[in-house]
């Protein structure tokens, strides 16, 4: 009983959003603001899935939404938070094509209708050797893939981010070969850990984090978790992926978190947990970002040093 109780308790039950966003204002507002405490109903926040949630301390909402790699809005960590407000996320459509029984253009509202939305606390490990712990809201990619009916020849899933330079200022310069592309092997895509995320911290996905819908693959480096998806294709051959095209020696197709396989220019043995402040120590990076029990079998027999 106690176990059930703890796992169903959510951060939002502890600290209403209005409080943690605007604590100072509410303090200033005095008793009038106290009414808010009973106000917002969290009935719509999806339940946490304890089976797939880590118990690590959550990274602050402010850090998750102000320290981002989203080169579509600039290469600085603070660029996405500063410039992503220009992005129009509604209406939003995702084109599904390739080797599927039900190709077509799916509206965002249609995609999330009837899916099993839940909250999952995942570690996120960036290839730049920093990490976060994020309470995502989302559903398993497998749910959506089953709906569009992959055909027998489909072996990979390819994803594309929106290309809209008038709203995504980073796309006006040729930093990367736009649109951003990513891909997974079909078995990786069907793995229960692989999420299509539509929110975090109980609210809709912030634009700088990849609104309105993004991929989350917690055992791979962060750049695999492509943001603001507009196209999902089922294909027979390994698709091209942006960072791999940019520097094939440095960023492989798999890009599984692997402390034993250095980036050619820096070590992947340790990581800095974002939000720890000035005097926090780095922690050791774990194989598959700590998800080895769940995903190692996907790669049995594979040399993960050469297949990086």
């Amino acid at each position: 009983m106690t176990y059930r109780f703890t796992t169903e308790l959510r951060y939002s039950d502890v600290t209403p959003k209005s409080l943690w966003l605007n604590r100072r204002q509410i303090m200033a507002g005095g008793t009038a603001a106290l009414g808010l405490l009973a106000g917002p109903s969290m009935a719509t926040t999806p339940p946490r899935n304890p089976r797939y949630s880590v118990k690590d301390e959550l990274t602050d909402y402010d850090d998750i939404t102000s320290y981002n790699n989203f080169y579509e809005f600039g290469t600085g960590k603070d660029d996405p938070a500063r410039h992503a407000s220009s992005l129009t996320t509604s209406p939003w459509e995702v084109k599904v094509d390739g080797l599927v029984g039900k190709p077509g253009v799916y509206a965002f509202e249609d995609i999330i209708k009837g899916v099993n939305l839940e909250e999952r606390i995942y570690r996120l490990r960036c290839v730049e050797a920093w990490s976060m712990v994020v309470p995502w809201i989302g559903f398993q990619l497998s749910e959506f893939l089953q709906r569009v009916e992959p055909q027998a020849g489909a072996r990979y899933v390819a994803f594309e981010t929106l290309y809209r330079p008038e709203e995504m200022r980073g796309q006006r310069s040729r930093g990367l070969d736009w649109p951003y592309r990513e891909g997974l092997r079909l078995d990786e895509a069907m793995h229960p850990l692989t999420l299509l995320a539509t929110g975090l911290y109980g609210e809709d996905m912030p634009k700088q984090n990849g609104a309105p819908i993004r991929l989350v693959v917690p055992w791979k480096y962060g750049f695999k978790s492509i943001k603001s998806i507009v196209r999902i294709s089922l294909v027979s051959d390994q698709p091209e992926t942006t960072w791999n095209m940019q520097a094939p020696r440095e960023y492989g197709f798999y890009s599984n978190v692997n402390p034993n396989r250095s980036h050619p220019r820096w070590s992947q043995a340790t990581e800095r947990v974002v939000g720890g402040g000035l005097f926090a120590k780095r922690i050791e990076t774990r194989m598959f970002n700590g998800y080895a029990d769940e995903v190692a079998s996907l790669y049995s027999g594979m040399d993960l040093i050469t297949n990086y």
Partner: protein
């Protein structure tokens, strides 16, 4: 003439305030870091800001001679102070990495210096700054004589290249800033090379 007017004003400005004013932004940044006002990853902000400021000041020191030769404005009295503060920022950059980022894990640090070219180059650049800062005083200048002293201080060219390459090697893809710094450093070296070749041609 405007130049002589400007030079007249410059002559009346002392160089010593540079030692006080130039370190202030770095100290302010550290104070912000202590107060948790530098965002999600303050160590990275400090590391980056100190390193970038060091490179900027090295470039500024390398600009003094071209400004003198091309515009006739003589800022040479400020060069020593600029160079010394450049060293202070590079030192702060390295200490941030050694102490705050790597937590003084010596085994890890040695491995990184040996195995990561960008860190190797950064370290070599730092070591090359040491003879410069040690001889940045009048006594050294007198003892070494202007010729030898100048020879030693030509190490600055190497330090600037090391700094620019160090920056290029640490980033993903090709962001603007490190490319801009590399182009500036190369131009400053190229103009000197051109002068040298021209001077040699004249002597023949």
């Amino acid at each position: 003439m405007l130049q002589s007017k400007v030079n007249g004003v410059i002559r009346r400005i002392p160089a010593w305030p540079i030692y006080i004013i130039f370190p202030l932004p770095g100290l302010f940044l550290f104070w912000q870091a202590l107060g948790d006002n530098l965002g999600a990853n303050p160590i990275q902000v400090l590391e980056h800001a100190y390193g970038e400021r060091g490179l900027q000041l090295i470039i500024l020191a390398l600009l003094i001679t071209p400004i003198h030769r091309l515009a006739g404005i003589n800022l040479i009295k400020f060069r020593r102070a600029i160079g010394v503060i450049a060293f202070v920022y590079v030192l702060a950059h390295m200490l941030t990495w050694l102490i705050l980022d790597q937590g003084l894990d010596m085994a890890m640090i040695v491995t990184e210096i040996v195995r990561r070219p960008y860190i190797t180059i950064g370290m070599v650049g730092f070591v090359a700054l040491l003879p410069l800062v040690i001889t940045s005083n009048n006594l050294s200048l007198r003892r070494l004589g202007p010729k030898r002293w100048r020879r030693i201080h030509q190490l600055t060219y190497f330090v600037a290249v090391a700094g620019a390459v160090h920056y290029l090697l640490v980033v993903k893809a090709w962001p603007t800033e490190p490319i801009v710094y590399a182009v500036i450093v190369l131009s400053l070296l190229a103009i000197r090379l051109w002068w040298k070749m021209k001077a040699r041609g004249r002597h023949q």
